[in-house]
């Protein structure tokens, strides 16, 4: 199991229009066939000191193995997503993890 979790901060913070465009792009991106499961999220209402909630979109992907995630990175659908949507975000933070 390979878990790829990406958090996006929008260039236009708080823009519902840009958030919608990014979600639309991610929905298309979710069709990449090495992706086992995908989840698009927004920050929950929880609010404690340890909670990071300044991002706009959470993009959580499950792959069967590291090779499938490598393949996703260079998949034409992914490259097209980056080309079409990368202007929408100013920052991404990625956490990649594998099961123990």
């Amino acid at each position: 199991m390979f878990i790829h979790h990406v958090y996006f901060w929008l260039t236009n913070t708080g823009s519902e229009e840009d958030k919608g465009k990014l979600i639309e792009g991610l929905n298309k991106l979710s069709k990449v066939n090495t992706i086992k499961k995908s989840y698009i999220g927004v920050p929950a209402d929880t609010n404690r000191d340890v909670i990071e909630r300044s991002y706009s979109i959470s993009w959580l992907l499950f792959f069967d193995n590291p090779a499938d995630q490598d393949s996703y990175q260079t998949d034409p659908t992914h490259l097209k997503f980056i080309q079409e949507c990368s202007m929408l975000w100013k920052k991404v933070v990625v956490y990649d993890s594998v099961d123990v």
Copy 2:
């Protein structure tokens, strides 16, 4: 769907013993009955500028709804976990998200 993703940084960075203790604690914690699915992970081998890989353990939980996550926070098993294991980490970062 409520996704609760916690990243732990060990007090004794790189201690395999403490990492093992934390994993043992998380395995017990995973029995809380509001948890729908749980995943314990370690950083993958991927390494790009946008990837955060300085943490030691990834703890990803799925709940059916925000109320179940609230209940988890005060579940006796969770409180016991914090009591028994909190000395093992020096930092946690939490990302809570809900589906759009």
